[in-house]
């Protein structure tokens, strides 16, 4: 299940090419277009089917998906950045899952490249909620900015942090 309100900002600077041969795509533009396709969006095409121009900015803020693990844990995977503008979506999704009776949650942050204190506060609130239902929360992340936030704040002593999405895997 993919949430539908993820933000994708793409700015394309069109170059004029009177020869009709199409502009040569820069590496940046090619990477950007590849990313668009990987995320399931359709590549922007000119009427002739020739890409012209340069993708100068792409911002994928946050994608969320929900899956099941074998032993009944719900796995919320986040991809992107969690900050003041996106953290509420993580919280809403987790609270909805808890309300549906899912009290064993894994929040998979291995593909999150940034998380601030707003995201940290959400994790702590979700932990509190699942504990109220005798459940548990496991956060998965690798070494990097997210792991550092959890470590510096001391939250990793309160929340179980692992490197793999399956809650039974060892750190």
């Amino acid at each position: 299940m993919w949430t539908s309100d993820a933000v994708l900002v793409v700015t394309v600077r069109t170059t004029c090419n009177n020869s009709g041969l199409g502009g040569k795509l820069s590496d940046t533009a090619a990477d950007g277009l590849d990313l668009i396709e990987k995320l399931g969006y359709r590549r922007p095409l000119t009427p002739s089917g020739v890409y012209r121009g340069e993708v100068i900015r792409i911002a994928v803020l946050l994608e969320l998906s929900v899956g099941d693990s074998l032993d009944g844990w719900k796995v919320v995977e986040a991809v992107g950045e969690i900050d003041l503008s996106t953290a509420h979506r993580v919280e809403t999704l987790c609270v909805d899952l808890i309300d549906e009776g899912n009290h064993l949650l894994v929040v998979d942050l291995r593909r999150v490249v940034f998380m601030d204190s707003t995201g940290l506060a959400v994790l702590l609130r979700v932990l509190k909620l699942v504990k109220e239902h005798d459940g548990d929360l496991v956060v998965t992340c690798v070494k990097g900015p997210v792991r550092r936030v959890l470590a510096v704040s001391g939250a990793d002593r309160r929340i179980t942090v692992r490197q793999e999405a399956h809650p039974d895997d060892q750190v």
């Binding site: 950045e81 900050d83 204190s117 506060a121 900015p145 550092r148 704040s153």
Partner: protein
């Protein structure tokens, strides 16, 4: 010694601009030779400072701007974040957005990363200042951030 003028970015006090703030902070950190880990600290501290000011704005009309200035400071960088309206001082009425502990979690986190954070309140503006060394701290951080729900424990 070459004197550097502060590098500045001005954005609306809107959380949608936080990724732009992080791009700016990351680029400036790299420009001045910060280590990779320290660049991440700079992005986090700068973004969280802006978020703290922006969150306070959420209950007010027309969003003001936030100005981020970064300049060399000894063996590190000094970051000044200014907002052209009063900030969430203890003495002022708060916008009841969240639990107080959570409102201050960001500032506590910045303090843990930088060692010191200075907040200047004036009638028409709030300024937050902190500095980061170019290299990441090698000693383990001993100051743990008081998390929401923590009870105050006396030292010792």
């Amino acid at each position: 010694m070459v004197k550097h003028e502060p590098l500045k970015l001005e954005v609306p006090a809107d959380a949608r601009y936080l990724p732009t703030v992080r791009l700016f902070a990351g680029a400036v950190g790299q420009q001045f030779g910060m280590s990779e880990d320290r660049v991440e600290d700079l992005k986090l501290a700068t973004s969280d400072t802006c978020a703290w000011l922006m969150r306070w704005r959420s209950g007010q009309d027309s969003p003001p701007n936030v100005v981020i200035s970064v300049s060399p400071d000894g063996d590190g960088l000094q970051v000044v974040v200014e907002s052209d309206r009063p900030g969430p001082a203890e003495t002022k009425p708060r916008v009841p957005v969240e639990d107080d502990d959570e409102v201050h979690l960001g500032l506590d986190l910045i303090e843990a990363l930088t060692g010191e954070i200075r907040i200047t309140e004036e009638e028409s503006a709030t300024t937050v200042t902190f500095s980061l060394s170019l290299e990441a701290q090698t000693r383990p951080l001993t100051s743990e951030v008081p998390l929401p729900g923590d009870k105050h424990q006396p030292d010792g």
